[in-house]
Amino acid sequence: MARRGAPVDVVGVGRTFALGGGEVEALRGLDMHVPAGGFTALIGPSGCGKSTALRLVAGLDAPDEGTIDMDGASPDQMRRGQRIGVAFQDPSLLPWRTVSTNIRLALELVGRRHDTKAVSDLIELVGLQGFEKARPAQLSGGMRQRVAIARSLVTEPDLLLLDEPFGALDALTRQQLNDELQRIWTARGTTTILVTHSIPEAVYVADEVLVMSPRPGRVVAHHGIDFERPRTRELLLTDRFHAEVEAVSASLHRSEGQVVQLDTDPS
């Protein structure tokens, strides 16, 4: 399968928010590289700036320092070029639209409202045939999340950004959607960044897992995951999978220890 999409290069990015009179430094010196068509998972303790990082890459927010480059384009240019697809933990569907018109929203926004085939293909890809006319309120949490993923993919973006899209789902549905996500990524080959809390999820779906430090967040460990694809649920039971999960877990614990170090030694 030919890989497509844009490579993402994040260099020395920092972002500070003003909060009730004080300041919160969310990111400091964040570096990461995602190759074209790569699948990178971003993992880290709560509040470490994972979502902030993703919003910066999506062009929804701008860094205070550092650069983000995608094949020569800035995130804002990518966003304005309508080359990014996003899905968040909250599926953020329009409650007054049906499944298919929610997916079509993205096409309407990029000026391809009549591409009905793209919509029906995506509905099939995420397994929602028969629910085209249903409204979000009639769907389960997992189905809503499928709609959100379909919406993020329908414009065939060069970059897919997923912010804990399965965070609110039960373990079984989550595993099911991880399988789907892997299948979709294999079929489409879009550069993908997934923010997640779950180490097994990250190891299962991604090519590379980046571990972030507590606030101010930066990448403190890289784990290349080279299990062959397609990965199946049998992989979850293997020792090499557990070893990889253990390794990432150890990095994560080490990173949590670094908060003390960072506070005492600001270099």
Binding site: A18, R55, L60, F88, D90, S92, L94, W96, A106, L109
Partner: protein
């Protein structure tokens, strides 16, 4: 253009797109206020000089000081009247809400009576009440009490209902009943909603008092206004309108501050934006839901006539109204005059409401897209929303003149401010995730408005519209009664002066029925929309 939309909802401090974003809101509002006053003075001294339509603010102030004894005496009188009405109306509303909460079977019937009271054309009820209370202060006090009744009832019941279920379960687990649950949990939990209700009751009480005085009183701002209107004493009408505004808004603000002091944890609640109550399913339930309130209202009607022993010449029963409309010798004549006038009133009222609605939605959209404008003007809109516009009807009559347009203008002004405030608040609650999705495709302002802001505002628009049906009809009938000589308000004032109590009762009954039906139609539409768009938000 999406930069502006982005700045509305999210505020990374650095993104000061416009220098005006950094000016404190108070300074902006004050600047706008001064600009409006200056423009007013200028217009009154040039375009409208010597035309009775607009008094320059300076002359209004001069007039106030010249006649301050007269003004303050009458203001004190009306305020006292409103205070008594406020007290009795709210006590009755809270007591009945308590009964409805403890004995759920009675809930629908009490609710129907409350809604019927809310839908009464107060201006025409005043002469009927005067038969009972005599020429003194009783009628304005009663009207003032009736004016606060419905909203306080709704707010109190909402408060009782929002009591946490777990706390109610604790009371029940100790083997205690509804009464204990009410005393120990519901009453306490209802305080924030109750205060929100009392807050809008303050201007409403003032409105009731002044409308009561419009139809005759020994003193008070209402009767002073009617005399000034007759004498075309322009400054006096402006002084009275401004004093009424200040006192009514002052009451609103004092109770609001009291609420923030008493329960600072409670979120601000807008009783005007409370969703409609859900209907129980089933044909039998629906039939009972329809019939029980009608029966209760008729029982109340007869009880009212019986308790006060009004002479048959003045007192008309439901049967008398029916006869006057359908079986009496002059029934056809009554029908054509009442329904013809009703048609005019409904037409001018709808026109005014739609104009106010469109204006409000457009303004809300502009505010969402241009934040500094919102910060400058919204505080003014919020303050103006609490003004009982009906009290300022004479000012609008002066400015617009006496004609069909007067009614339309009054209803438009009445609907504009509450709709704007509710609509903007709803648009501002558009889920951040939806906005992020739109931004991630670089969607423009138009796409934001079409796909996010407008649809999000629809439930709030319908909630405002439901409340606006009775209040708009009240505004229209007051304008017609005082000034225009058209519509059902004029039919009622003519019937009143000719002692034609048949036509007066028929008009009151028909108008009330129209308002109730309008209220229920909008409520039904609102429930359907909520089911579709935001399941689980109806009560």
């Amino acid at each position: 253009m999406s930069d502006t939309a982005q700045a509305t909802a999210k505020a990374p401090v650095r993104s000061g797109a416009s220098g005006l974003d950094r000016v404190p809101p108070r300074v902006l509002s004050a600047a706008v206020g001064i600009a409006v006053l200056a423009l007013w003075e200028l217009l009154a001294r040039t375009v409208y000089a010597g035309s009775y339509r607009l008094s320059p603010p300076t002359l209004v102030v001069v007039d106030f000081f010249e006649y301050r004894d007269l003004y303050l005496r009458n203001l004190w009188h009306s305020t006292k009247t409103a205070a008594w009405g406020f007290l009795w109306g709210n006590l009755a509303a809270i007591a009945l809400a308590g009964v409805a909460s403890i004995i759920p079977v009675l809930r629908r019937s009490i609710g129907a009576v409350a809604l019927t009271i809310f839908c009464l054309p107060f201006i025409a009820v005043a002469p009927i009440l005067r038969l009972i209370t005599g020429p003194g202060n009783g009628t304005p006090i009663t009207l003032s009490a009736l004016a606060v009744f419905f909203t306080t009832y709704v707010a109190a019941l909402l408060g009782f209902d929002t009591a946490p279920g777990s706390a109610l379960d604790v009371v029940r687990s100790f083997g205690r009943g509804r009464l204990a649950a009410f005393r120990r949990v519901r009453l306490r939990a209802s305080v924030p909603a109750m205060i929100a209700g009392l807050q809008i009751a303050a201007p409403a009480a003032f409105l009731g008092a002044v409308v009561g005085e419009f139809t005759g009183a020994r003193s008070g701002l209402g009767i002073l206004t009617v005399r000034a209107l007759g004498a075309l004493h322009t400054e006096r009408i402006w002084v009275i309108a401004l004093m009424s505004t200040i006192v009514a808004t002052g009451g609103y603000m004092v109770i609001g501050a009291l609420g923030r002091w008493l329960c600072p944890w409670a979120p601000a609640l807008d009783v005007g934006a409370v969703p409609a109550a859900r209907q129980e399913p089933g044909l039998l339930n629906r039939l009972a839901a329809l019939l029980a309130p009608i029966i209760v209202v008729f029982v109340f009607w007869y009880a009212f006539l019986w308790v006060f022993q009004i002479k048959p010449f003045f007192a008309k029963t439901p049967l008398d109204v029916w006869a006057e409309l359908f079986t009496n010798a002059d029934a056809a004549e009554t029908r054509s005059s009442v329904f013809g006038a009703l048609g005019t009133t409904m037409w001018t009222t709808s026109l005014g409401y739609v104009a106010g609605l469109i204006g409000a939605v457009v303004t809300a959209v502009v505010f969402v897209l241009i934040p500094w404008l919102e910060r400058a003007l919204m505080p003014i809109a919020v303050a103006l929303r609490s003004i009982p516009i009906i009290v300022t009807t004479p000012v609008i009559i002066l400015f617009v003149g006496r004609g069909l347009l007067t009614t339309t203008a009054i209803v438009a002004v009445m609907s504009f401010f509450p709709t704007l405030v509710n609509c903007y608040a709803a648009m501002n609650r558009t889920p951040e995730g939806i906005l992020d999705v739109l931004r991630s495709y670089d969607a423009g302002s138009a796409a934001h408005v079409r796909n996010a802001y407008l649809p999000t505002a629809v439930p709030a628009l319908l909630a405002s519209a439901r409340i606006a049906v009775p209040t708009s009809l009240l505004g229209a009938t007051v304008a017609e009664w005082l000034a225009t000589g058209d519509g059902i308000g004029a039919v009622m004032v003519i019937a009143f002066t000719r002692n034609d109590y048949n036509v007066l009762w028929v008009s009151v009954a028909v108008l009330t029925l129209v308002a109730v039906i309008g209220y229920w139609l909008v409520a039904a539409l609102e429930l359907r929309t909520l089911e579709r768009m935001a399941p689980g938000t109806s009560r």
